[in-house]
């Protein structure tokens, strides 16, 4: 994990600073520091100078020296509190998250009690008992901080527990404790580190506050909290002390935070999807006015693009940063036609849809042209909302629930779009909304309109999404895997619906899919994508019966049900 740090300068700097601080504090007795406990009153209240790098306090004592000596009790107290919180929090959190049931409920209840207790009150009471023995107070602080920390650990553990490989280990008969130690804790290491660093920051701030109030380390021994108090007294004439003491505390907390963030990022990378290296391939020469298809044997019959196409994509290239996901793709969609864009995941098909919509989050069109209804919309990503609205493009996403704002009632969502595109009154928009919901064959549209997305089934939600897409009376409907997330039985119904609407309105449909069954069901023509390039194109019939390209054949073979 440490190896990942050099790539993160902020976290690395943080770690170095913290280590230097700890080292200085530990080595204070042997470092050549000015005396921390006594000073020359004649030198009092000086600013930074060669003799005193951070100045002096009201008794002439060297601030830098006192900061370093003061770091000892300050950091020690913090470490104590954090240690207690870590041990208790990890033990309780993992046990609760992993075991579930009564153990979980009990532990959560205990943490509820801890979190409801007035922390500062308790701390003050403990401190009034053990006024100069900060150790006990820091244990109390650790216990108090355990509450929220344990909950986060528990949450992370629950998430990990659900993952498949834990179940596998369980089935293999490994004892629970082993599972927890070997699998769960390493997996949540990132969370522990991040929360731990946050905890350390909090503990540091709390113990400094307590020191400022006069508990804990007693003068003349220095601690950062006491030094802030001292600094406040002479701030008017000599701000160096309060700046130095506050700065030391603040910097430490910041570096703890940076370190935690950095470690969390590294950990996420380790466990998440590894970054893919951009594939190196020779750039293909782009040809102009492409009516000639690329990449594969031509199918011949009438797939050339015409001026009266609804949508014409010519030689389009899309890249996400340095990675090119679409290279020189050309295809066209005629009015009233359904074009399927087929490929496996990663083939670039979704990128094409998003390029046409102008919602490539993070990607850019690096070459080629998109023409919609005779209008060049290659720059659509920069269009204003008004310009976009004027294009009247409808969009249906794969996950129906994801594409609808969960906090809005679905009727309001549709009405919003209706008002946007048709400029009608609220009442009229409402009427139209009900009509649209009826058009997508939703029974009892008034009731449905009042529901929130999560209250609807997948199929109903997708119908709602379609209804909203229809609000703008679209010329082009882009459907990105509209049935993938739905039950098989519902899929057919949705596709029927799309076909029906197309018949009614004459809109064109650009359908993204990996499913040949869908292609067969609804598409007139299709293009096959592989690695961002067109592997094959033609009418559906042609593709099925005259599949020449190996790739297409592979895809077809992967869908045995279709060979009928």
């Amino acid at each position: 994990m440490i190896r990942g740090l050099p790539r993160r300068p902020a976290a690395l700097a943080g770690l170095v600073f913290l280590l230097a601080e700890i080292a200085a504090a530990a080595l204070a007795p042997v470092l050549p520091l000015s005396p921390a406990l006594s000073g020359n009153i004649a030198d009092a209240r000086r600013g930074p100078s060669l003799a005193h790098w951070l100045g002096t306090d009201q008794l002439g004592r060297d601030t830098l020296s006192r900061l370093i000596w003061g770091a000892r009790p300050t950091l020690l107290d913090t470490a104590e509190a954090v240690a207690v919180a870590l041990v208790l929090g990890i033990a309780a959190g993992v046990a609760a998250g992993f075991a579930g049931g009564r153990t979980d409920r009990t532990l959560v209840a205990v943490s509820d009690v801890i979190m409801a207790m007035p922390g500062m009150v308790m701390l003050l009471v403990v401190l009034s008992i053990f006024a100069t023995h900060m150790g006990y107070a820091m244990v109390a602080l650790g216990v108090l901080l355990t509450g929220p920390f344990m909950r986060v650990i528990r949450g992370a553990t629950v998430a990990v527990r659900r993952e498949l490989y834990i179940d596998a280990a369980r089935m293999a008969g490994l004892p629970e404790r082993l599972i927890m130690a070997r699998h769960v804790i390493p997996r949540i290491r990132g969370t522990i580190l991040v929360q731990g660093s946050l905890l350390a920051g909090m503990a540091l701030l709390l113990s400094t506050a307590v020191a400022y109030l006069g508990f804990g380390t007693q003068p003349p021994n220095p601690s950062w909290g006491l030094m802030i108090g001292d600094g406040a007294q002479i701030m008017g004439s000599s701000p160096a002390l309060i700046v130095a003491a506050g700065g030391a505390t603040g910097l430490t907390v910041i570096t703890l935070g940076l370190l935690g963030d950095g470690l969390r990022d590294i950990d996420t990378e380790r466990w998440g999807i590894p970054r893919r290296r951009p594939p190196k391939r020779p750039r293909r020469p782009r040809s102009r006015g492409a009516s000639v298809t690329q990449g594969g044997p031509s199918m011949g019959v009438d797939d050339s693009s015409m001026p009266f196409d609804l949508l014409r994509i010519e030689d389009l290239s899309v890249a996400y940063g340095a990675r090119e996901v679409v290279s020189g793709v050309s295809c066209h969609l005629r009015y009233g036609e359904t074009l399927g864009v087929v490929g496996e995941s990663g083939s670039g098909k979704t990128a094409i849809a998003r390029a046409v919509l102008g919602v490539l989050n993070g990607g850019t069109v690096t070459g080629g042209q998109i023409v919609l209804d005779g209008r060049d919309i290659t720059d659509i990503a920069g269009y204003t909302p008004d310009q976009r609205a004027s294009l009247r493009t409808g969009y249906i996403a794969q996950e129906p629930h994801a594409s609808l704002d969960p906090t809005w009632r679905v009727g309001s969502l549709i009405a919003e779009s209706v008002r946007r595109h048709r400029g009608v009154s609220r009442a009229e928009a409402r009427r139209i909304t009900i009509g649209l919901l009826a058009q997508v064959h939703l029974r009892d549209p008034e009731t449905v309109a009042r529901k929130h997305p999560h209250e609807l089934s997948g199929g109903m939600a997708q119908r709602v999404a379609i209804a909203r897409a229809l609000a703008c009376q679209p010329k082009l409907l882009i459907a990105d895997e509209p049935t993938t997330a739905l039950d098989v039985t519902v899929q057919a119904a949705i596709l029927d619906l799309l076909r029906e609407i197309q018949a009614d309105t004459g809109m064109g449909i650009l359908l993204i899919t990996h499913d040949w069954g869908v292609v067969a069901d609804i598409c007139d023509r299709a293009v096959v994508l592989r690695d961002g390039q067109i592997a094959e194109k033609g009418t559906v019939t042609e593709l099925y019966h005259r599949a020449r390209h190996d790739y297409t054949r592979e895809l077809l073979a992967a869908n045995p049900a279709l060979l009928s």
């Binding site: 406990l37 006594s38 009153i41 209240r45 009201q58 008794l59 009034s128 006024a131 100069t132 006069g214 508990f215 007693q218 003068p219 003349p220 108090g229 001292d230 406040a232 007294q233 002479i234 701030m235 008017g236 004439s237 000599s238």
Partner: protein
């Protein structure tokens, strides 16, 4: 549109801040004084409050004690012991004085008030002495009898110890009401509307007071500001005109040089030996060696910035028992100290466990300084500085772990000092409960002394005894410092007035300006 909203908001804020800028709420002809106090006032009832002088605004005492040590008539016009032995004391009351609600000050009212005081638990009970009975012997004469000789009757009835602060009949019947209203014969009364317990107490001038010329302000306001730097900030921003109890290290900061400082020593530091019956400290030579080891001049200059005076005896100048012959009884002489130690058989030094606390020694600086000075003669000090938690300090004192404790005294005479702290077997600073026979004899003699001259002479003898026997090491006498705005004149301070007299029977005794 957003910019305009922001502009409106900004203008509103500026107007609000401009409206109240400069603090202070006085009108054109009013004269008010705002004082910043450090500690809260637990109770406004003189019978339960540990700091009775704070209540002097509303409750005049029977006898007023001035900073220079003289006793001035207040609610009582004459007084004295009856007979010999200091067991019977009598007072004659002022005529024509009235309580805040108009009822007259009578002997019976005084008797009731004193009796009520003696029945209520508070830290000043001990100072009231062993009272046997309080009776009204006439319309305006009161007699107090003590069960044993008590020479401090006069002192005990002044504004410092609560017993003499007379509460009117209305307040006595309903003590709870005394937290929100005052019922005394006083220059001011509490303005409940402008008072908030624990934070702000406002006193307005009492038109019914018998001596209107003594009242200097239309209103006096006390503000509780626990943090010293916040108190100074309040002073610098004009919110208060007197910031009390400012630690030495804040005085002289350039931001505060425009302000006066209250001078005059009011308290003295003592390194008290806790157990002189065994161990190195049981040897006189050892104790005296430590006397020689302390560099009082350096402490005065470096630690207290000159706001202190070196002290070698147990009763500093300004207190009864002071003897100028005892000045420089010891002195700073490390060679002599080492020689004495060697003579006692501790040539190699020894370890002394010293207990300090930050209430009387802010920052533990004095304790730290003593540690290094004693180290120079071979005595290794193991230092523990307790925070301001009295209970912990008291517990540590009584634990028997420590050989010496650092404390400060603020009594006006050696008798009070000795009975309440050092010498008495029951006192806190004598956890070993050892009673030094010689000291106790001298103390008893002083108790029965006939007249103040004899009393003073007896105390001087006690002082000489304690000093030569070195039952502790007096270090220096110093003052608590108030920072005051220019134009405000504070009355003098002395051992009599550890908490400064802010008001008095005539202008010379009061704060003014």
């Amino acid at each position: 549109m957003t910019t305009r909203r922001m502009a409106v908001l900004a203008i509103t804020l500026l107007t609000m801040t401009a409206c109240g800028a400069g603090g202070g709420t006085s009108g054109s002809s009013d004269k008010s004084l705002v004082i910043g106090l450090e500690s809260p006032i637990p109770s406004l009832n003189p019978a339960s409050s540990p700091v009775s002088t704070t209540l002097a605004y509303a409750y005049d005492p029977l006898i007023y004690w001035t900073a220079d040590g003289s006793f001035v008539p207040d609610l009582a016009t004459s007084w004295g012991y009856v007979g010999t032995g200091n067991t019977t004391f009598q007072l004659k009351l002022r005529s024509g004085a009235r309580f805040a609600d108009g009822s007259p000050l009578t002997a019976q009212a005084v008797v009731n008030s004193v009796r009520s005081f003696l029945k209520t638990p508070n830290p000043n009970l001990a100072a009231a002495g062993p009272v046997k009975s309080v009776t009204a012997t006439g319309d305006s004469t009161v007699q107090i009898t003590y069960s044993s000789a008590f020479p401090n009757a006069v002192q005990s009835l002044t504004q410092f110890f609560g017993a003499g602060m007379i509460v009117g009949p209305k307040g006595l019947t309903d003590p709870a009401s005394l937290e929100t209203s005052t019922d005394g014969v006083g220059q001011y009364t509490l303005d409940a509307a402008d008072t908030r317990a624990g934070s702000v107490y406002t006193f307005t001038a009492n038109k019914k007071y018998f001596n209107q010329s003594a009242i200097q302000y239309t209103s006096v306001q006390l503000r509780i500001i626990p943090s010293a730097s916040s108190r100074v900030s309040a002073l610098e921003s004009g919110q208060v005109q007197d910031a009390t109890q400012i630690p030495i290290d804040q005085v002289g900061a350039s931001g505060t040089t425009g302000y006066q400082r209250l001078g005059g020593n009011t308290t003295w530091e003592l390194l008290q030996f806790l157990n002189t019956s065994s161990g190195p400290l049981s040897k006189l030579a050892v104790r005296q060696a430590l006397e020689y080891a302390v560099n009082r001049a350096a402490i005065v200059k470096d630690l207290y910035g000159g706001y202190a005076t070196a002290l070698d005896q147990f009763s500093p100048s300004g207190t009864t028992g002071y003897d100028s012959a005892l000045d420089d009884a010891y002195g700073f002489d490390t060679a002599k100290a080492k020689a004495l130690l060697k003579q006692a058989g501790y040539g190699g030094g020894f370890t002394l466990k010293l207990l300090g606390n930050t209430t009387t020694d802010p920052g533990g600086l004095l304790a730290q300084e003593l540690k290094s000075e004693l180290a120079a003669v071979g005595v290794t000090v193991q230092l523990q500085v307790d925070s301001g938690q009295m209970a912990a300090f008291q517990a540590d004192l009584g634990s028997g772990k420590f050989g010496a404790a650092l404390w400060n005294m603020s009594s006006i005479d050696l008798y009070s000092t000795a009975t309440q702290t050092i010498v008495s077997p029951h006192s806190l600073l004598n956890p070993g409960a050892t009673a030094d026979a010689g000291a106790m004899t001298l103390l008893r003699t002083a108790a029965a002394a006939d007249g103040s001259a004899a009393f003073a002479s007896d105390l001087r003898k006690l002082n000489a005894y304690l000093t030569s026997d070195a039952l502790g090491v007096p270090i220096c006498a110093r003052t608590n410092i108030d920072l005051v705005a220019t134009g405000v004149k504070l009355p003098a301070a002395s051992y009599v007035t550890p908490q400064a007299n802010m008001i008095g029977p005539s202008a010379q005794y009061a704060v003014s300006g």
